[in-house]
């Protein structure tokens, strides 16, 4: 084991973490703003992957990268209008049940349309041949994922921090009732935020699909680690999600070097340790889900 090899394993951890972060971002945004624990988020990721496959087969990858997130935004808005908005004032259990049910419906819908077989969703041609990055050869696509994740996190931060809409969203997280009295159409903002969360799932699906594979059950498969990322980071905290996503990615990657079988439990182990130490998660705020 030399330094280059260790760096390679660290890079793999970063890349695994990037996928976790991508999925967890939308999840934590929706929870932080709307207070809804969205169990259908994995299913939105899965739909992103399926659409990514279908559209890239028909028109090429670049079109898919643009069109899929937009489509998911529209799907997200439709879901919020038709279903989710009726559950804002109902107990968390109801919200979990309805989103979980939605996830199952979407999953079986995709199985119905595309069958249960994995669809060979390839990367673009320029990303097929591994590149030499000084410490060894690496699949370019996984580097792209890291880059896209950094860009998305940055854009989301700027959007929430420096735009008027972001200000309203953040205010809405604090006190939606007061915001309503001030003459701001809160439900409309909520719809938009849910659409934005779905859009993030779409980006994750369209770029993550070539790695996770495209099957009806990938939604559920990515949902569990993503929820752990959100919980470890602190419910509703975007920086927390980024931090814990990277932490879990590195934990998974490095545990292979130390004791391979432990990769199967390492994320749960990290979750247990972090939550014992900080019950609200790494950067969790007081009063959330308490």
């Amino acid at each position: 084991m030399n330094l280059a090899n260790l760096s390679l394993q660290l890079l793999t951890g970063l890349q695994i973490g990037a996928i976790y972060v991508m999925i967890a971002l939308g999840l934590t945004l929706i929870f932080g703003t709307l207070g809804v624990v969205n169990f259908a988020h994995g299913a939105l990721f899965m739909i992103g992957a399926y659409l990514g496959y279908a559209i890239s087969e028909a028109t090429g990858h670049w079109v898919a990268f643009i069109v899929v997130p937009v489509l998911l935004f529209v799907i997200g808005i439709a879901i919020e209008r038709v279903l989710i908005r009726f559950f804002y004032n109902r107990p968390a259990v109801d919200q979990i049940l309805v989103t979980f049910g939605l996830a199952l419906v979407l999953q079986e819908l995709m199985r119905w349309i595309f069958g249960g077989t994995n669809l060979p969703y390839g990367t673009p041609d320029w990303a097929i041949v591994p590149v030499d990055i000084g410490i060894g050869y690496y699949p370019p696509w996984r580097l792209v994922i890291v880059g896209v994740t950094i860009a998305v996190v940055g854009a989301l931060y700027l959007f929430l921090r420096f735009t008027r809409f972001g200000l309203v969203v953040r205010a809405g997280m604090r006190d939606p009732e007061m915001l309503g009295y001030l003459g701001i159409d809160v439900p409309k903002r909520f719809t938009f935020v849910f659409g934005l969360g779905a859009l993030l799932a779409g980006i994750a699906g369209v770029i993550g699909g070539p790695i996770t594979g495209v099957t009806p059950d990938i939604g559920m498969a990515v949902l569990v680690p993503s929820f752990l990322v959100v919980v470890i980071g602190g419910m509703g905290s975007l920086p927390g999600a980024v931090l814990s996503g990277l932490l879990l990615g590195e934990a998974v990657s490095l545990s292979v070097l130390i004791y391979p079988p432990s990769t199967q439990i390492i994320i749960y182990l990290v979750a247990a340790v972090v939550l014992l130490w900080r019950p609200r998660g790494l950067l969790g705020a007081r009063g959330v889900m308490e």
């Binding site: 394993q9 890079l11 390839g122 041949v129 690496y138 699949p139 996984r142 790695i211 594979g213 070097l257």
Partner: protein
Amino acid sequence: MTNRKPPLSLPLSRRAILRGSLAAGAGIGALSLGGPPLVFARNAWAENYPAIGNFPIKGSTVKFGFTVPLTGAYADEGNDELKAYKLAVRHINEGGGILSTLKPMSLKGNGILGKKVEYVSGDNQTKPDPARENARRMIERDGIIMFSGGSSSAVAVALQYLAQEKGVIFMVGLSHSNDTTGKDRRRYGFREFFDAYMSGQALGPILAKEYGKDRRAFHLTADYTWGHTQYESMKDATEKQSWHTVKNIMTPLGTKDFSQYLTAVLNTDADVLVLNHYGADMVNSLTQAVRFGMRDKQVNGKQMQIVVPLYSRLMAKGAGPKNIEGILGTVNWNEKLTDPGSKAFVKAFQDEYKEPPSQAAQTAYLQTILYANAVERAGTFYPPEVIKALEGFEYEGFGPGKSTYRAEDHQVFKDIYVVRGKAPSKMANQFDLLEIVAQVPRSQVEYDPKMMGGELGPYIPNKT
């Protein structure tokens, strides 16, 4: 009005006459032979067997149970198996398929012992516990006389123990672990599919011939009974060819992203990657290994190679032809075989489902027919008699040459195949993904039943 009465009275009287003569015949038979009335064949005799499991059967139909994975890592295989089971039931009831090619064949295409076959099916999620619950419900609620299914050897082993406990025969579907007919062999379980040991024996010499003797292999292995035994078998077979085993990492069944394991492979000087994966696991690990450049890489001055010991067309399709081109592995059966049985089965399957069957479908179909045939030959559904009819049964007319259900471990022995992924440019159609490299003779893959240990257990359950 006038002809109302005669039709009513006539059959009644004929039946009465028949009944009388039957009774008389039985009496004469018993008297003359001084024992049971053998004239009336084994059907009548069946009533004298004690009840086991869901035997004796009440009514004019008999029910099979098919528990297959419709979700989980082996969902593709499970879906294909279910299609094959439905086809097998239809052929048993109505004739067709391999009923005219398999020898010896006692089925007449009118059900089994005159009873029509029905079936129930369920999703076992590729997991032993749901599978056991699934099968238990079929046995206790639906009253099935036989069940079949898979995939996953973990499921197969769990169901074999259930079969033995309940006294209901289990015809194993897709299962490739040595344990299934090795240390976990059961009197009530039968496997037609080949096993990991046979794959290793068949593949070893061909790997050495293709890739040379001085190779260093890294294994990634699905973490359950099948993966474990395949790793052991491949390790033995390749080390016999003086390959060196660098390391093995167990990966959980259902893993989506293998990058952390693949990076660990790159961190060694291994020049062969052996993927002891199947189904969706193999699709993911192979695709990702190719993306990590493992097929273009030079290690120790040699071209790095990937080996997939257990191949299937469904996986080849999932991984895509570009990724499987040139990769070697073994299969139990292939839809391109030209023997009359394979042709009849492929045609029937293709007519029904518009695509050729996989090897998972083939073993599922054959197992169902073999069970039905054994019952017909035994003349009874009484499980111990059916088991005896299957033990040591030799047959041919479906797949390669003569096959034998070995009595000592309930494993079928026959020739198996080494295959290679076809180049996309050479594919005749979208299903034409694998080419047969060699038909490995049975003698090369056979082994002593004592080698793997295990006890079949008693013919009559609950008396262990």
